[in-house]
Subunit: 286 residues, 4 copies
Amino acid sequence: MNADTTARLLITCPDRPGIVAAVSGFLFNHGANITALDQHSTDPEGGLFFMRLEFQTPHLDVPREVLEKAFAASVASRFAMEWRISYAADRKKVAILVSKYDHALLELLWRHEGGELPGRVTQVLSNHPDLRAEVERFGLPYHHVPVEKDRKEEAEAAMLTYLEGTDLVVLARYMQILSPAFVAQFPYRIINIHHSFLPAFIGANPYKQAYVRGVKLIGATAHYVTEALDQGPIIEQDVARVSHRQGVEELVRLGRDLERTVLARAVRWHLEDRILVHGNKTVVFV
Amino acid sequence: MNADTTARLLITCPDRPGIVAAVSGFLFNHGANITALDQHSTDPEGGLFFMRLEFQTPHLDVPREVLEKAFAASVASRFAMEWRISYAADRKKVAILVSKYDHALLELLWRHEGGELPGRVTQVLSNHPDLRAEVERFGLPYHHVPVEKDRKEEAEAAMLTYLEGTDLVVLARYMQILSPAFVAQFPYRIINIHHSFLPAFIGANPYKQAYVRGVKLIGATAHYVTEALDQGPIIEQDVARVSHRQGVEELVRLGRDLERTVLARAVRWHLEDRILVHGNKTVVFV
Amino acid sequence: MNADTTARLLITCPDRPGIVAAVSGFLFNHGANITALDQHSTDPEGGLFFMRLEFQTPHLDVPREVLEKAFAASVASRFAMEWRISYAADRKKVAILVSKYDHALLELLWRHEGGELPGRVTQVLSNHPDLRAEVERFGLPYHHVPVEKDRKEEAEAAMLTYLEGTDLVVLARYMQILSPAFVAQFPYRIINIHHSFLPAFIGANPYKQAYVRGVKLIGATAHYVTEALDQGPIIEQDVARVSHRQGVEELVRLGRDLERTVLARAVRWHLEDRILVHGNKTVVFV
Amino acid sequence: MNADTTARLLITCPDRPGIVAAVSGFLFNHGANITALDQHSTDPEGGLFFMRLEFQTPHLDVPREVLEKAFAASVASRFAMEWRISYAADRKKVAILVSKYDHALLELLWRHEGGELPGRVTQVLSNHPDLRAEVERFGLPYHHVPVEKDRKEEAEAAMLTYLEGTDLVVLARYMQILSPAFVAQFPYRIINIHHSFLPAFIGANPYKQAYVRGVKLIGATAHYVTEALDQGPIIEQDVARVSHRQGVEELVRLGRDLERTVLARAVRWHLEDRILVHGNKTVVFV
């Protein structure tokens, strides 16, 4: 449900009895109608507890800020919760970074145009000029930020200026490695699509690696970007069957379809606040 | 979690605000620790609401019967709930009905022996004598109840005697059609495996039908048995890819693997109280 | 392999010994290098035999016409073959028919632009004006042919004029039923995408039907159009997992992704001459 | 087709024009009826060529040995072929090595009993005594060969004695690493099931590794055993979807089902002579 009256409460805390009762009781008492609830416990005896609630706001008895303050005071502090509330009406601002391949980019722009991605794509950044026309025909600004050897810092500074106010950065086959300083600006808010079934085939040319190893399935992985290359928390993966018949080029072609759908799913889930990160793993409530 | 201290509360009721708060508050106040919670609403504005909770019973402040009475009085009646609590320690008694094919039967017996099916298989009934040795080597009683033309009533009467006290009847490729009177004894407690992707290929020889139609995927469907042949609520389905290369025999062979896994999943979910039926559909909380 | 030097020979004939030797010997003797060969026999003892060969033409010792005449005389007649040779350099002319949904259309246009469909899309026809801009931004002509009640004949006549010289007609969610007379103009050269796992849910609103029946997988089917609605030879099918959580709208959304990929695969295979039809079934050599 | 009159010819050679014509002509001239033919070329211009033919032997004009000699002299030598002919009537002798887990073993024994594995399982070897009863109820000999630390050589010597005359060794979760000397006795005739999607999670405890990495799919891989641990040519792989909900134990349970089916497929294909190895990869004609 993405109605503009929908809010989502996300919680991570140590597991112990009484959390569901406290949270649902609090919301009910304030006139919030819970329309979805997912929870997960890594271990009921002293593990971590994760919860996602969707609730409807029309009959709230207090303004948002008051509700949040009351929640912090009366519930969150008691259970040592990390938490946040987001409102579907505040659509997240999304920037897409791309190099020369257009398939993952176009898939996102299409779905965005068709109303399938509940965010607002505001711009596309690229280290190449090639895809300008394709982006502009969607009515979106295209910023070409070349990344020259030994001058990556400058390029990233320019990009950060463009990205001010951005909620989510999507790497739709962006072929530059981002610096730790850049990544630190968007903690668990940069999603990358890696063209292999991670952790197999980290690094460059995964389809070539897959071909050489002779695997019978190829994959794609959407993950949050962290300092460690291709090692961030995995959001979604999928695979397709291949055989001896496919050469590297054919693997690339089949892989494109995987990359498109896997990335689109991960972006959608992020925009719907379905993903919680803990350690180097994700909890995805779908 | 199938520990012997686990209980499960299943609820169906009209949707309206406050249900989660009331149920979770009730359980918390009685010392029950909620370890899993799933809910589903067909329509938050006046639809049906479904909920499944797993909770741990060691610290209950009252005996089971008192807890259930209190729940009925203080929560269930208020929200017009259909509900039930089941206890993992009360392992459901399962009878398997079979004809001549052994694959679905053996899959269940293996998993049962390996501790993967949280119920207790108590007997196997068959209209043929063929599989006695295979069943008996699992240490289970095998009852041969022939079904003669025009004397089905007698046969079913004999079967009902054997089945007294049975919680779940599994048709593991049992090739006789059960009478409505028989089915009525086990409402939504008979699971059948149909060897097609229902509603395609209802009735006899679905693999032959699939071959003639030239489908590119074959399927299997586990469903609850109702009066209408092959029309009961679907629990689980799966498919496998086929091509022009497979003749009917090969479809049968591939289909066997589907039937085994689809039926095993459905039985497991039933035994873990994960399935709610409404109308002719299921809500499966997995 | 789609190089311009590639030719494909497709054969259907009664099965009997010596076919492979005769065909491969003939090609070798004329300087054709076989680069792919698939065969299928429904029954080696008197069934039907199907074969697809790809061969390279640069070293042919005679012109195409002479080769074909020689093949007819010395091989095809001996084995009572139905056969045809097609040349990758003669790219098939494709027309797409569409109504208001753009997803299947755009998928095809995009793959066409990216070189993934080895044919030549020449035009888009629609009974609605809505998608003109989207089509024209690919540089393709868009013909709006309204279909008024009781005047379908006229509309089809207009469409046939546009379609003169077309090799393949693709119905990318075209919501009008074509008359038998129209279909007869393109025997096994009209591909439709049906939004269900046929033969389940024939006719209108298959996602609604799937929702009502409570299936756990939804599907899409690409098939050749024949006189019988939704009954033509199936080319390709695929499914996606769903649950009680998805309402009809969500099924529609998930189904769109299936429709896109299933239709694209079927069109590609047709353009690469990988499909042989016999009776109401297909042999697809992939 | 596994009829006792079926023979299979497997060929690997440098690719060049005329191979199909020469082979099929040879067989036809000797009264062999080709009932299946698959070929693959890594690169038509100077790559490797692989071919598998099934043919029926009742009308051969010469005895097997004469046929093979003639083939060597007139065809194989001309094209520098590696080749072999095997006869379905000579069912391959299979030994299964196992430790304590029974699922992969039982799957094979059960399919063997049901006629689905076209070989002859002759014995089961284990470094533990645990599974004796389960094996013996299939009427098969069970040899317990303990492997003591620092005395592996002795154990392997004992095993080799038992394995004399064995055509295929299947490691159905056999937890000892075989020495290179042992492996060298059965080149590309030892199949192992690894409980991960190789090359991800090589080595011990792959499900634990998968859990820690937070993958969204787990897999299983059947491969030929070579000197390099978990690095031999991959025959078959499959995956199953998982989420944050599954702990390590649940991954193990789900993985068991993958291991069973993936290993059974690989063994079946080997027994039907469908696998050709080149370099560290397989060509599997299915």
